[in-house]
Symmetry: C2
Subunit: 156 residues, 2 copies
């Protein structure tokens, strides 16, 4: 394996590659891909001067093979920002070759550069390969339950 993974932040010029990878993730998870309006919001929210998220693409010989999305949350106890990794995805044909590890390491490096006290993320409880990876790198699983209300449930 001599191909080198190039990690690039999303931009006007590679945004179609980003959408392509999100659609591949949706296909893999049998979920609806973002619709036309959602794609417009994704672009506005990711490329604005004060972006709501940061996303980076992994390219191998010019081909987009994976992406990460993160943003910064905040720890009130440390009084420091936290890098929260929202998505990490590698196309099926490119797994088990260390590219996911490289993109994860890129996030850790960003957490360091940005002065974060922590890096955090969630994993689906059935995703055993991912869980094995996170345990291997020595991450701590917290004794937390994660709850959600969706906007249809907001009105009381």
């Amino acid at each position: 394996m001599t191909s080198k993974l190039i990690i690039e932040r999303i931009s006007e010029s590679n945004f179609d590659d980003f959408i392509y990878l999100i659609e591949k993730l949706a296909e893999y998870e049998k979920l609806d891909p973002p619709d036309a309006q959602a794609k417009i919001r994704l672009k506005r929210d990711g490329l604005s001067e004060d972006p709501k998220y940061e996303a980076y693409l992994g390219f191998l010989n010019g081909k987009p093979i994976g992406y990460i999305i993160f943003f910064f949350t905040y720890s009130s106890f440390l009084a420091l920002p936290t890098l929260y990794l929202e998505d990490i995805f590698i196309l099926k044909d490119y797994r088990r070759e260390g590219f996911g590890q490289k993109m994860f390491n890129f996030c850790v490096k960003q957490a360091q550069i940005r002065g974060c006290g922590r890096m955090e993320w969630c994993v689906l409880t059935w995703n055993e390969p991912a869980i094995k990876f996170y345990e291997k790198i020595g991450a701590s699983r917290l004794n937390w339950y994660f709850y959600r209300l969706t906007k249809d449930e907001f009105i009381k």
Copy 2:
């Protein structure tokens, strides 16, 4: 119970009340409270022009009895911001009187006003009163594990 809960955003004038309540929560959760440097960062990060978090205090007859901290994360699938509730805390002597519910409802309202697609939060697995409350309001518990790396673990 005729006392009315007043919800106020943190400011220069009530910041000491905020610190007092955070210390009370640390005590309840058996965690270390913020040290002197962390308190300075908390103030800078919460009261700056582009704050890293939003916090609101609940006052009852002028006495601070609880607080909430939230910030905005992002759902790549919805392409909408999420209101993430980091802390919600009511002093022990003022629980079971609906004040937590009122502060929680305030967050839901903020999620609505800010155009969020979701509101999310975590709860310690041993915190049964909180879990009962979240189940009662119909929130969904996700099949996720929550992982963390702390800054001492960043360097590889």
